[in-house]
């Protein structure tokens, strides 16, 4: 089976000379389809950079990234955009929604932009699972932070992408709504067989995933299947020492 995402010797260097930062330093990793993977590591270890690069938001200095059998390095800006539109969904830590559009319009935005139509059954099911059916007509500013993030997840799911990337999706939420959101992500994987790659530095969040990859100084230092918060917490401790 082809993995959903594969990075080979992915290297990202910012700046040059004395100010050079190797944000990614020869990362080779694959993420399987239909699974919930977490990327963990201390601040500045390159988690976001890795996510951006495998999601086609940023390019590598060297190495290779594939989504499915598609090598991202071979695509131009327009092709990358179309790929993001059809095969990738995003949930950011904050500022996920367009303030002038209602929740419903935000959810269907990628489909609208692509000019494709919404599958009403799928839409209803996603809305139902995320419990945002009564909020659809509201603008983002009229929603709570948790609701906003759920709308963002719904948007990411709406176009049935191959993979959803999430960068600290619960980072801005209190623990209760954070847990709720992670429950939904878990549900999406279990119910819809959605592939999700999530960056987090919270062991509790990682506990929802099927697998945790640990980064340090731009390199993969550990790969833990079926992580529990406790195990992850212990691992982080050793990393930070």
């Amino acid at each position: 089976m082809i993995p959903a995402i594969r990075a080979e010797q992915a290297t990202k260097v910012y700046g040059s000379g004395p100010t050079e930062v190797r944000a990614l330093d020869g990362v080779t990793v694959s993420f399987e389809q239909g699974r919930f993977s977490a990327i963990m590591g201390p601040s500045g270890s390159g988690k976001s950079t890795l996510l951006h690069c495998i999601a086609g938001l940023d390019d590598l200095t060297s190495g290779k990234v594939c989504i499915g059998d598609q090598d991202l390095g071979l695509l131009n800006d327009r092709e990358l955009t179309l790929l993001r539109r059809t095969r990738v969904g995003f949930v950011f830590q904050a500022f996920n929604l367009v303030p002038t559009l209602s929740a419903r319009e935000n959810i269907t935005l990628p489909l609208d932009i692509a000019g494709s139509s919404v599958d009403p059954q799928w839409f209803d099911r996603v809305i139902d699972v995320l419990e945002i059916g009564d909020r659809l007509g509201h603008r983002p500013s009229e929603l709570s932070g948790g609701q906003q993030q759920r709308v963002a997840v719904a948007r990411a799911l709406a176009s049935r992408p191959d993979v959803i990337f999430a960068d600290e999706p619960s980072g801005n939420l209190d623990s209760k709504s954070g847990a709720q959101l992670l429950d939904f992500l878990r549900l999406a994987v279990d119910e819809f067989h959605q592939t999700i790659v999530m960056v987090t530095h919270d062991p509790l969040a990682a506990g929802y995933s099927d697998r945790a990859v640990f980064l340090e100084d731009g390199q993969i230092v550990d790969d833990m299947p079926g992580p529990t918060p406790e195990a992850v917490f212990d691992r982080i401790k050793t990393l930070e020492v």
């Binding site: 951006h52 938001l57 940023d58 800006d77 327009r78 955009t81 179309l82 993001r84 539109r85 059809t86 969904g89 995003f90 950011f92 500022f95 996920n96 929604l97 367009v98 303030p99 002038t100 559009l101 319009e105 935005l109 990628p110 609208d112 932009i113 692509a114 000019g115 500013s141 948007r155």
Partner: protein
């Protein structure tokens, strides 16, 4: 605090640049108006003081100052020259004969045409400012000298033959030299030719007479003593003035005209600056919103409200000083442009170094700074109202119902007030000291501000309506564009208001122009009863030789020729232009509805007057009317006829015989010619043309040609007005670019998000472009509506059924379409910028 201000400015160079640009464009035309008129003033001051070089005093017939610039005074007897010469205080006295002429090239074509006049004068070696540049002075009756710059412009060389028409048929001369005025060759754009004294007297029909006498005093005699000595022997009704006074008198009439031009240009300058004010207001509003957190932080660490307010105002002062300085420089460039425009429209204006006076710099800068400060006032207060707590939480303010009500109430009050002031200026009799135009100007400014405020209240629903077709056509992109266009209704309203003003004025002028054209056509159609009109070419040369009418009248193909003439007179202290005609034949040439009396029997000491003028002057039939002519002074005339509409004729008519007595000028202004029906029309016209072949300064026009000529004149003027208004439109355009850019910068993260979820660069560009189009069309539609209402109001105010109101729908539609195009063009750079945003940076943008 000042450091924070400067940092704030320098941190946003683009924002700074656009604001500076708006102020520069706004103040530019103000500075340009002054530079242009000061430069002209300079040219003519030099000219008039040069024209009296080498002369100590000048003698002319006494003529009312007001009339002097429109006509020639009575001539003086030649004997007076000898009498003055014999005075022991006088070294030499020289009589001069001068008049308007038309120059003809060897092919028989008139030279020059529209523009400054061609003046013919008698040559004198003594007591004259004229000097020979090349060749020789005229010595016999076929010799002529011409000013050197005209010789160059008309490509005339020494030895060439030229024809000159004064009062009769052309006479041939040989160019024997070129002349200058003292040391310069500046004749103020006029063409100057000189011929011998005897020839001039014959050509201008002035045997035994002179127009002016130039006097040079003996020894060291003071100008006062010389004037006194000459005055002692001069007959009554003669004016003797020293050279300096004479130069000043000539200049003063000219200065009045310059003042008028200056006011005219300045009006457009202030319109531009006013439009610029909207842009400045918008920029500062956005700056304040964008810096909310920074301002709140300042408040949190102890800055007072007043300090924050001052910071914003200080920023505006710095920007306005820079903008106004650029404005003055731009003004000089504009002045050169205006000169070029006037040259096309009115004829050559000599070029000299632009005159930049301290007054120009002060007024331009003061206007720029005041408008900027005033525009920044509301944003500054808004900045000072930011609470310190805003530093800690991000608030997206949503316009409340209450705000909507306040905005619409204020907007309604201000615009109603503006409309009221305009109406008062148009329909009521304003107090004497305040001109109607001031009422209309202030009223229009209020109206526009009120409408801008009001349109903020309605930008949301109206913008959505305008965006509906775009939403249908472009789906998500269209929806985003529409929502962006209305998300800051205030900003959209102010941006489109700038365009609204420009478009409103444009539409207003267009409607007036097309109404005027329709009216002119109608009038000509209604009154033009003859087959042809014969007119002089251009307005700089002489009129029509009386011989033309004589010769045409003698043609067998012609049934009727009516001559008309024109001239100024003073009525109750105002200069009025009267027409003169052979009144017995006038009603056969043009349609005039006589109400009382008999037009055809108006005699020597009588006058015919229009109903309107009779009402204004409060005179009835058989009343007497006191007037003053340049030649004959005060005269009492009896009102012998009252006719209905002034029409093309004007408000006053004299019989030709009466005109001949009261005016020095002896040439016709236009001839109305009717063919004998027993001849073929084209043959009759052919016959008239054959006569005119001998008079190259004259041309014949049939009804439609006559109408075309009148309309070409209107169009030329309207073109000038368009050009001046264009600046306001350019500023409005910059305003759209500015607003879009600011919005794009403000929405960096949002655009990044759109790109992340799959919007292509092209979709982002489209989104910005359509937002721009909505704003532009919104402004253009409002502007068209306001322009139409204002034009209608003006036509109503003129209160005469002669004016045909004509709504040029096609032009209005074109204006809106052009606004749409402008919207697209304005979006090019901001859209480019938006689509180039790096997705990652945009997401990380704070």
């Amino acid at each position: 605090m000042l450091r924070a201000t400067l940092k704030g400015l320098l941190g946003h160079k683009l924002r700074l640049a656009l604001t500076v640009l708006a102020i520069m464009l706004g103040t530019g035309l103000i500075a340009g108006s002054y530079v242009f008129t000061d430069t002209l003033d300079r040219v003519f001051s030099d000219l008039f003081s040069e024209s009296f070089a080498g002369i100590d005093a000048q003698v002319t017939s006494d003529v009312n100052d007001e009339l002097a610039s429109f006509t020639f005074p009575e001539r003086l007897p030649e004997s007076l020259v000898d009498d003055i010469t014999t005075l022991e205080e006088v070294e030499v006295a020289v009589g001069t004969v001068a008049g308007l002429v038309t120059l003809i090239d060897p092919n028989g074509e008139a030279l020059g045409g529209f523009g400054p006049p061609t003046i013919g004068t008698s040559w004198s070696d003594a007591a004259s400012p004229l000097t020979v540049r090349e060749g020789a002075a005229p010595t016999n009756d076929r010799d002529l000298v011409i000013d050197s710059s005209s010789a160059r412009r008309l490509e005339i060389e020494i030895g060439d033959e030229v024809g000159v028409i004064a009062l009769g048929t052309p006479e041939r001369f040989r160019v024997v030299g070129t002349i200058g005025l003292g040391g310069s060759s500046n004749f103020g754009g006029a063409t100057f030719v000189a011929i011998t004294y005897e020839t001039a007297q014959r050509l201008f029909d002035a045997e035994g007479n002179v127009d002016t006498i130039s006097v040079v005093g003996a020894g060291d005699i003071s100008p006062e003593a010389l004037v006194a000595a000459v005055e002692a022997i001069a007959p009554e009704n003669t004016s003797v003035v020293d050279a300096a006074t004479a130069a000043e008198q000539q200049l003063s009439g000219f200065k009045e005209a310059l003042d008028f031009v200056n006011t005219f240009l300045l009006a457009f300058g202030y319109v531009s600056l006013f439009v610029g004010g909207f842009l400045i207001f918008n920029t500062f509003q956005v700056i304040v919103v964008q810096r909310t957190q920074e301002l709140a932080l300042m408040r949190a660490i102890g800055a007072t409200k007043r300090q924050v307010r001052r910071m914003v105002l200080a920023e505006s002062v710095i920007v306005s000083v820079i903008g106004s300085i650029f404005g003055v420089v731009f003004g000089v460039v504009l002045a050169i442009g205006i000169r070029a425009a006037f040259s096309r429209f009115g004829g050559e204006i000599p070029a000299t170094t632009p005159q930049i006076q301290t007054r120009t710099v002060l007024i331009s800068m003061a206007s720029g700074i005041l408008v900027t400060l005033f525009s920044a006032l509301v944003p500054a207060y808004r900045a000072s109202a930011v609470p310190p707590i805003a530093a800690l939480r991000q608030v997206m303010a949503r316009p409340s119902e209450r705000l909507f009500r306040i905005v619409s109430t204020v907007g309604t009050i201000v615009s109603t007030l503006g409309a009221g002031v305009i109406a008062a200026g148009l329909f009521l009799d304003p107090p004497d000291q305040i001109p109607r135009a001031a009422f209309v100007g202030v009223g229009a400014a209020l109206l526009f501000i009120g409408l801008a405020v009001l349109s903020a209240a309605f930008a949301r629903p109206l913008g959505r309506t305008l965006g509906a077709p775009i939403r249908v056509a472009f789906g998500a992109v269209g929806r985003l564009a529409t929502e962006n266009a209305v998300r800051n209704p205030g900003r959209t309203a102010v941006t489109s208001a700038a365009l609204m003003i420009g478009v409103a004025l444009m539409v207003f002028v267009t409607i007036l122009a097309s109404s005027l054209e329709a009216t002119t056509n109608q009038l000509i159609e209604d009154t033009f009863k003859t087959d042809l009109v014969v007119q002089p070419i251009g307005f700089g040369g002489a009129g029509l030789s009386p011989l033309i009418a004589d010769e045409i009248e003698a043609l067998p193909e012609i049934e009727l020729v009516t001559r008309t003439r024109q001239g100024p007179m003073l009525v109750e202290g105002d200069v009025e232009f009267i027409s003169a005609a052979e009144l017995s034949k006038l009603t056969e040439a043009i349609d005039i509805e006589v109400i009382e009396g008999d037009l055809s029997t108006v005699g020597i000491d009588e006058i015919a007057i229009s109903e309107d003028a009779a009402g204004d002057l409060d005179v009835r039939i058989a009343d007497s009317l006191d007037v003053e002519f340049a030649r004959t002074g005060e005269q009492r005339l009896i009102v012998a006829a009252i006719y209905e509409e002034a029409g093309p004729a004007g408000d006053f008519y004299l019989d030709l015989e009466s005109y001949k007595q009261n005016f020095v000028e002896d040439f016709d202004q236009s001839l109305f010619v009717r063919f004998d029906r027993s001849f073929d029309t084209s043959a009759a016209r052919e016959a008239v043309e054959t006569v005119l072949d001998d008079f190259p300064g004259a041309t014949s026009l049939d009804q439609s040609e006559f109408a075309d000529q009148a309309i070409t004149g209107i169009r030329g003027f309207v073109g000038l007005v368009y050009a001046l208004l264009a600046l306001a439109l350019v500023i409005a355009f910059v305003g759209i670019v500015n607003t879009l850019l600011l919005s794009v910068i403000e929405r960096t993260r949002e655009i990044g998000l759109l790109r992340a979820v799959g919007a292509t660069r092209r979709q982002i560009r489209r989104m910005v472009t359509w937002e721009s189009v909505i704003i532009a069309v919104y402004g253009a539609l409002l502007g068209s509506a306001v322009g139409i209402v204002l034009a209608r109001a003006l036509v109503e105010a003129l209160d005469t059924d002669q004016i045909v109101f004509r709504l040029p729908i096609v032009q209005v539609v074109i204006a809106v379409a052009l606004a749409m195009v402008a919207g697209v063009v304005a979006a090019i750079y901001p859209a480019q910028r938006a689509s180039r945003l790096n997705v990652l940076e945009a997401i990380a943008y704070e």
